[in-house]
């Protein structure tokens, strides 16, 4: 069966798509907005919750303290639901009359924020929501996701699907814990995490580029391999000698002098450890590198059309190899965040699927570092919201909150939320003819 059904006749018969220039009126957004507005209206009128929802905006350690915002639950939700309806109608108008035939991005963004606000107000009836805590928790949960997603973005941009993010995070966390403990230096741990991520990438790159094994298979198997290796050594070595091998010194939080005094934002963004500051730089650097430099152009060319890139003299395999290695290095730092910052020691399978959520963030963020970062923040927020709501007694079962990122990703991949297009050569090996 090796070459059955492949002949010149069939090659000619595969028709090339005909390109026509038409205004595509995209009705998916308006319909989705209608749906959310309708749900908001139903909740506002059918399931009203009496009481006052309070939002606390400052922590006790802040210099400038903001007064908590008190909102009467029922009326606030009704007002926001009506606003949402107006926005949904507006989106219909934009699609019908607009020149582009699409819902503008600002409208979707405002809509999303209002939905969130309405939901929080409704859920927090009679309770106080600690907004700074909510945001700090969001960032904490998002950091590994964002590092993983950045690794995923540059890897897929060069044409290698990186399913091994989970393995890179886990191996980074593992190496950071051991090296950080043995050397008593979190910086050495961080470097070890980078090397660990690169090592996983080397295997991914070697198998998918040199031996042309399917990238998804290598990624899946690498995750199993890293899980097996780290769990084996955890059970056999780390638990036996936890004090000398698995208690790394953690990074200390650094206050940025002026910025950390900004109310609400300051404590969230600028009282963090060096890993988080590295993340800010990494987000910018990946965006700048991919879209503003010659290196980025080459990377994207290799990922979109390797043959063309090869024709103009770019070494496709070498570019892919080193870019995938860089992706591993970035994801490895995300792993170090677990053991050198937030948790403080390595646990068996401690990444707990974060790599797969990062992969989802890559797709949801449409292979763009900034959007992928926002997607990572959104997923972190959804998870943390569930934690926050379970404290005040959530009216929505926590499992559904936890399910949300995955459902949203399925919708995104199915093209219901927006058109999603992967780099053209992503997942395809380049075989020079």
């Amino acid at each position: 069966m090796s070459s059955t059904l492949s002949s010149p006749a069939l090659a000619g018969a595969t028709t090339s798509p005909v390109h026509e220039k038409v205004i595509v009126r995209d009705w998916k957004f308006p319909v989705a907005l209608d749906f959310f507005a309708l749900v908001a209206l139903i909740i506002a009128f059918a399931i009203p919750r009496a009481g006052v929802s309070a939002f606390r905006l400052s922590t006790d350690s802040d210099v400038l303290k903001l007064a908590p915002v008190m909102m009467p639950t029922t009326s606030t939700v009704i007002v926001v639901a009506i606003l949402l309806t107006v926005l949904a109608v507006l989106s219909h108008w934009f699609v019908l009359r607009g020149k582009v035939g699409r819902t503008p991005l600002w409208l979707t963004a405002v809509f999303a924020i209002l939905v969130l606000f309405a939901f929080l107000t409704w859920a927090a009836s009679g309770h106080t929501i600690q907004v700074p805590g909510l945001l700090i928790g969001t960032l904490t949960l998002s950091v590994p996701l964002i590092f993983g997603a950045l690794g995923g973005v540059i890897s897929e941009r060069v044409g290698v699907v990186n399913v091994a993010i989970e393995g890179q995070l886990l191996f980074g966390a593992f190496s950071a814990a051991i090296v950080g403990t043995v050397t008593h230096s979190p910086f050495a741990g961080l470097i070890a995490a980078v090397i660990a991520g690169v090592l996983v990438s080397f295997v991914l790159a070697a198998f998918s580029i040199k031996y042309i094994v399917d990238q998804v298979i290598v990624g899946v198997v690498l995750n199993v391999l890293v899980t097996g290796l780290t769990s084996f050594f955890y059970a056999k070595v780390l638990t036996v000698d936890a004090a000398t091998l698995n208690s790394p010194e953690r990074f200390a939080a650094i206050d940025i002098p002026v910025l950390s005094q900004i109310p609400l934002i300051g404590p969230v963004l600028f009282r963090q450890t060096i890993i988080v500051y590295v993340m800010y730089i990494a987000i910018f650097a990946v965006w700048f590198g991919l879209f503003k430099t010659r290196w980025g152009l080459r990377v994207r060319a290799v990922g979109e059309h390797p043959t063309a890139a090869d024709t103009v003299g770019i070494n496709v395999k070498r570019t892919r190899f080193w870019t995938v290695s860089l992706a591993g290095a970035i994801a490895g730092i995300g792993g170090a965040y677990y053991t050198l910052d937030v948790v403080g020691s390595f646990n068996k399978e401690m990444t707990n699927g974060a790599g797969f959520i990062a992969l989802a963030a890559v797709i949801f963020g449409r292979w763009d570092p900034i959007r992928a970062t926002l997607a990572g923040l959104l997923f972190g927020f959804a998870t943390n919201l569930q934690n926050a709501l379970s404290i005040i007694g959530s009216p929505v079962p926590s499992e559904f909150m936890l399910m949300l990122p995955y459902v949203v990703t399925i919708f995104a991949v199915a093209g219901l939320v927006g058109r999603v297009r992967a780099p053209a050569a992503s997942g395809k090996p380049y075989i020079k003819s």
Partner: protein
């Protein structure tokens, strides 16, 4: 491997189409193609239309030989030995004085490795420390018990592979199937055996729906099945977690734990020991955990073998798997094939869920019921090269590793996770035959050296 998946002749391919009246116009196409195909001289100089890369890779994975599989297993066990020796306390102490008495280190290494693999064998095949045969052979039945769900889920993943699809959603499909089978098993009293069959059917339907959802999304929107299946794993997990802690849904009444009630006795799969004692009264039968689901899995293997190699549906599956572009031209509804394949695939994985809930874990289950089977199934399918009987035997191998792994952990202190390492190394190496060949310095297939040794192939080389 064992099944006859060898070259299908042109005549057979043509008859596959001829047997399909709806496809008759495209049958001509297929015949035309075959005319090229049968004659190697015509086929050789022209460059055939290349199928998408993913399909070519899968074809290559499937096209390897048993030798590579065997060498991959040997290499993986060697890597496992290094891990065992490296972490063994006796080895670590003896390396401390390696220069004065190197013999100690080597004997410690040998002891550690031999001890571990002896435990692996005793836990998975035959325990010589037992006096009678029935108890001695018990580990083998344990191996088959562990292998049962692996084979079922592996068949599902393998069938999807043959259509060019990656079903990474085994976990979600097993969880949903388990919930369906479990729900039937305690909610609807029915006669003995019939109840179990209805439960199995519910599981298969549940898995098929969860798998078919992926197929539907892929066919309708082009959503990549890898991402969708990974996401649906989590959705299924949280959905069933929610149901398991909601009174009136799947939670056992009078309990606060997120755990289901036990299955009714009528729904539990007959145990092999019980079956034997009924069939051979008076014969000594032990207390095996192996149950009726193993019989179902054998039947499923036959079924998949029949579908893939003897039915026109299977033929269309394989054509889509080889080259969807060609399949589309030949008049095959590729999108429909994706849906059908993922429905069947999900149903087979669902069978694994049934074997868990109605076979080995009948006292109620939690959301962790899949126990890693969904992911292991991928490695099982890859090791079995996606052939039904290949999957069957690789499932038994992985079942043996699992059964033996527990013994190894208990008696030798080697963590069970080493099995994950061995499995993943096996699959990595099998997926990269050139790597194994270069390690063992084997000639590449079709290379002049090898062709010269086999005169039958010589003509082919010359024409090229």
């Amino acid at each position: 491997m064992t099944d006859n998946q060898k070259p299908v002749t042109g005549a057979k391919i043509a008859s596959g189409f001829a047997g399909e009246p709806v496809q008759s116009p495209s049958g001509a196409h297929a015949n035309g193609v075959d005319a090229n195909q049968v004659d190697p001289i015509v086929a050789a100089p022209t460059e055939p239309a290349p199928p998408p890369a993913a399909n070519r890779i899968i074809t290559e994975i499937l096209g390897g030989n048993a030798m590579i599989s065997f060498l991959a297993i040997v290499l993986a066990l060697a890597i496992g030995s290094v891990l065992i020796a490296f972490t063994n306390p006796a080895v670590q102490t003896s390396t401390g004085y390696f220069l004065s008495r190197p013999g100690d280190t080597f004997s410690a290494i040998a002891n550690a490795i031999v001890g571990a693999y002896a435990a692996l064998f005793q836990g998975s095949v035959y325990n010589f420390e037992r006096s009678d045969f029935i108890n001695g052979i018990k580990p083998l039945t344990e191996t088959l018990t562990f292998a049962t769900p692996l084979i079922a889920a592996g068949l599902g993943v393998a069938l999807a592979f043959r259509v060019g699809l990656f079903n990474i959603g085994g976990r979600g499909q097993i969880i949903i199937a388990a919930a369906c089978a479990g729900w039937v098993s305690w909610s609807f009293p029915m006669p003995y055996f019939l109840h179990m069959l209805v439960g199995v059917l519910a599981a298969v339907v549940g898995g098929a729906i969860w798998g078919g959802l992926v197929g539907l999304l892929k066919a309708r929107t082009g959503a990549h099945e890898v991402i969708v299946t990974i996401m649906l794993n989590y959705v299924a997990y949280y959905l069933v977690s929610f149901l398991l802690r909601t009174p009136g849904a799947l939670q056992a009444s009078g309990s606060n734990n997120p755990k289901s009630p036990a299955a009714l006795d009528t729904a539990i799969m007959p145990n092999l020991s019980n079956l034997l004692s009924v069939l051979f009264p008076g014969a000594p039968v032990g207390t095996f955990r192996l149950n009726f689901s193993f019989v179902l899995v054998i039947l499923a293997t036959f079924l998949v073998w029949y579908i893939l190699t003897r039915s026109s549906l299977g033929f269309r599956f394989r054509v889509v798997g080889q080259n969807p572009n060609a399949a589309r031209v030949a008049g095959i509804d590729v999108n429909r094939m994706y849906i059908v394949a993922l429905v069947i695939s999900g149903g087979l994985v669902g069978l694994a869920g049934a074997s868990q809930v109605l076979g080995t874990n009948t006292t109620g289950f939690t959301a962790g019921i899949d126990g890693g089977i969904g992911f292991d199934a991928i490695t099982v399918a890859l090791l079995g090269r996606s052939r039904p009987w290949g999957v069957f035997f690789s499932g038994i191998l992985f079942g043996a590793l699992k059964a033996g792994g527990y013994t190894m952990q208990a008696s030798q202190g080697v963590p069970i996770e080493i099995i994950l390492v061995v499995q993943s190394v096996i699959v990595l190496l099998i997926a990269a035959p050139p790597l194994v060949r270069s390690i063992f310095r084997l000639p590449a297939p079709g290379s002049p050296v090898r062709a010269a040794r086999r005169p039958g192939r010589l003509t082919e080389v010359v024409t090229k």
